[in-house]
């Protein structure tokens, strides 16, 4: 019953997008997000749409897998659209009781929906094409310059790596404990919400106890191997920029530069 939950939705492949240096991908996604909020005409979103479709095509990820990322957000998008439609003052195009839908409201709602959709697809393309480990390495490297102002870059990345590493372990454990308690007659599937919450105690207590035990053991194991933080630590697979990385970065900077600049050029 827990098998259909996927976290860290990496979709393995060997396309250019997959092979790209994670730091470049983080940079590109950042540029993409900034552009989304600079564009203020519908026609202005066309280049962004073309960009997204190109990335999907090149990466070889089924479009359905990308769209699936939108599903949990449908509700939020719907609410945003609804409130923007009725709350924006302006020229009324439709009236229903005390609700006024304005021309400006429709426009605003359209923008919001587009922005949210682009935001989600753009970022899910990043996580779909980048393995969690590469992603944390990239984040650590990008955050590194901020260490001087006290951002614990290495520690954050290590925490993310460990958390990701333990997701499947904890899922397995949950299933095992669930079965063990079901063998003792526990019932996790019926009753009202209060009863169900109460029935979770025999599952959650051992799960937490075991998680703490594991954390303790992991800490000891790391210490036994002389782990002492990121200072002077080298990598098995160091991140190195290659020619494609430079080319893609250059192209994207120019492309998004234009997308952002058009707001001011054609204003």
């Amino acid at each position: 019953m827990l098998k259909n939950i996927t976290i860290g939705q990496y979709y393995p492949g060997d396309s250019i997008v997959h092979e790209l240096d994670p730091r470049i991908k983080i940079l590109v996604v950042t540029l993409f997000i900034v552009s989304i909020f600079f564009v203020n005409t519908f026609i202005g979103y066309l280049p962004l749409l073309v960009f997204i479709l190109t990335v999907i095509a090149v990466s070889g990820i089924p479009a359905l897998a990308v769209l699936r990322g939108l599903k949990p957000l449908l509700f939020i998008i719907a609410i945003t659209v609804f409130f923007n439609m009725i709350m924006t003052p302006g020229e009324v195009v439709y009236r229903l009781g005390f609700i006024n839908i304005t021309k400006e409201g429709l426009r605003q709602a359209g923008f919001m929906a587009l922005r949210l959709i682009f935001l989600v697809t753009g970022t899910s393309l990043l996580t779909l094409t980048t393995s969690p480990i590469a992603l944390t390495d990239g984040i650590e490297s990008v955050l590194n310059p901020f260490r001087r102002i006290g951002v614990p870059a290495h520690e954050l990345a290590m925490m993310m790596t460990i958390a990701l590493r333990f997701i499947p372990t904890l899922m397995e454990e949950t299933e095992k404990i669930m079965k063990a308690q079901m063998a003792r007659g526990a019932d996790f599937e019926s009753g009202n919400i209060l009863r169900r919450a109460k029935n979770l105690v025999p599952l959650l207590v051992p799960l937490f106890v075991n998680a703490f035990r594991r954390a303790d053991e992991l800490a000891t194991a790391m210490e036994a191997r002389c782990y002492r933080g990121g200072e002077g630590r080298t990598r098995l697979k160091p991140l190195i920029y290659r020619r494609t990385d430079y080319i893609v970065a250059g192209l994207c900077v120019v492309f998004f530069g234009f997308v952002i600049a058009q707001r001011f050029l054609f204003a």
Binding site: E173, K176, I177, K179, A180, Q181, M182, A183, R184, G185, A186, D187, V201, P202, V205, P206, V209, N210
Partner: protein, 285 residues
């Protein structure tokens, strides 16, 4: 008692991760048998035992426990989980209550038994696994030793008074003494309670000593089914699937080779080995 017909189980059918875990298993488990289930890691032992109390449902075929089919929607309600008690590997990882007594009472209370009846069951179950109710019932299960925790967890299943008790590697991770104690308690349970026991184990010695019938699983299939003497005669066949005969059986085979004495190829226990050896030595004196 338990009737298994044409049991097949496939993990993730239809996906690229599809894996045949159990294949065409047909067998009957009769009341009062002590079954030793052995097989290499990944041979399907744990998958198999989970089918016996309905935690897993067959992809194909049927499992029938005294008239209840495990695929019935109301199998759990009709007492399937009570009839077939399953002690998982490392069962101490499932303890959750504040006190030992409350933890053991979890099963009986899920069965809807009264407070008084539950307490009687808890006392009995603790007694069966050699734990003192007076000394331990008020302690937190988390502050006990490893062996004691495991006993509490086993007692938690025994308190449901199952007709069939399945133990999935009950001695894994225990020291030799803890292992012997648990096995002795299981053996005593079998003698005194008249229940059917299925013991999953890697240890050929333990199985040889206790089981009345041995099932050998390999790649999800039952490849051997018989008593210890029959099974342990097949050294080559066992070796071929990554298993081995007990050390004492092996040692006595070597003695037979060296001396040419008339020693059976399936000596099971040290005591038996000593007897055979002394007898043969006298014969050749």
């Amino acid at each position: 008692m338990i009737e298994i017909k044409n049991l097949n189980y496939i993990y993730h059918p239809g996906s690229p991760y599809e894996k045949y875990a159990l294949r065409d298993i047909n067998l009957q488990i009769r009341k009062g048998e002590f079954i030793g289930l052995i097989g290499h890691t990944g041979s399907g032992k744990s998958t198999f035992v989970q089918h016996l109390n309905g935690l897993m449902k067959p992809t194909l075929g049927t499992v029938n426990v005294s008239g209840i089919s495990t695929t019935d929607a109301d199998a759990a309600k009709r007492g399937l989980r009570q009839k077939v008690g399953l002690v998982f590997q490392y069962p101490e990882h499932q303890l959750f209550e504040e006190t030992v007594a409350k933890d053991i009472a979890f099963g009986p209370q899920n069965l809807g038994l009264s407070e008084e009846e539950t307490e009687v069951r808890v006392r009995e179950a603790m007694d069966m696994v050699g734990l003192s109710f007076e000394k331990l019932h008020d302690r937190s299960p988390f502050e006990l030793s490893g062996g004691q925790k495991r006993r509490v967890a086993i007692a938690g299943v025994l308190a449901m008074k199952p007709e069939v008790l399945i133990l999935d590697e009950p001695t894994a991770g225990l020291d030799p003494r803890g292992r012997d104690e648990i096995l002795d308690e299981i053996s005593a349970l079998y003698e005194s309670q008249g229940i059917t026991i299925i013991l999953v184990s890697h240890s050929m010695e333990d199985i040889a000593r206790l089981a009345t019938r041995i099932l050998v699983l390999d790649k999800g299939q039952v490849v051997m089914d018989g008593d210890a003497r029959e099974i342990y005669r097949e050294e080559e066949a066992l070796n071929a699937i990554g298993l081995d005969i007990p050390d004492i059986t092996k040692a006595m085979k070597q003695v037979a080779e060296k001396t040419g004495w008339d020693i059976p190829p399936n000596v099971l226990t040290v005591q038996e080995a000593v007897d055979v050896y002394l007898r043969e030595r006298k014969n050749h004196a």
